[in-house]
Symmetry: C2
Subunit: 113 residues, 2 copies
């Protein structure tokens, strides 16, 4: 079995680099599919598929604009990710310390040989 579907889990949805690029581009405002595809060097169907995933997981929304379909950012879904990683913030610096302690242990162990 595999992980939760890309279409239901934001963590998985943003695991794809090109989808992250799309989100970054959309910070600049709404864009039609073809423009996104062009700017990111992907095919139009490719862009559409990534956009579909992002839409189903709620990170973008779309609206019709004439012949075009404009995709826009809905970043709210990223907040849980930000908060989850934030739960480790206190360990970022501490990690250095622990690594130090770890290295110290290694040195000691080596001396005790």
């Amino acid at each position: 079995m595999a992980r939760a579907a890309t279409t239901s889990d934001v963590f998985n949805a943003i695991a794809e680099p090109q989808r992250r690029e799309i989100l970054v581009l959309l910070r600049g405002g709404e864009r039609p599919v073809t423009e996104l595809a062009e700017e990111l060097g992907m095919t139009q169907p490719g862009a559409s598929k990534h956009l579909r995933v992002l839409r189903e997981v709620g990170l973008v929304r779309d609206r019709k604009a004439g012949k075009q379909r404009l995709y826009g950012l809905d970043a709210r879904g990223l907040r849980p990710v930000h908060e989850w990683t934030g739960g480790f913030e206190q360990f970022w610096n501490e990690s250095f310390d622990r690594l130090d302690a770890y290295v110290q242990d290694l040195k000691q162990a080596r001396q005790e040989d």
Copy 2:
């Protein structure tokens, strides 16, 4: 083709729910493999495999402790994820506004029919 390997991309590595659970558990301190497996209801080989991915991507480190191998958190790799999502923070609230505007547009469009 697929996305960047779980073993090289932190975003992908944490896309797996069980790996996230492992990381959360490790905030409580180092743990041997069997204990992790037990607490998370996974098999020992399963835990070992997830730990390997986490180790290769640099989110955990291990040290020998007698017969056991203790895995500990190295959260530094989560920082880029936190920062990347943080880059969207200004859009979280704004998203509501945009959504509102969007809904307004819909209503207008409907009236204009």
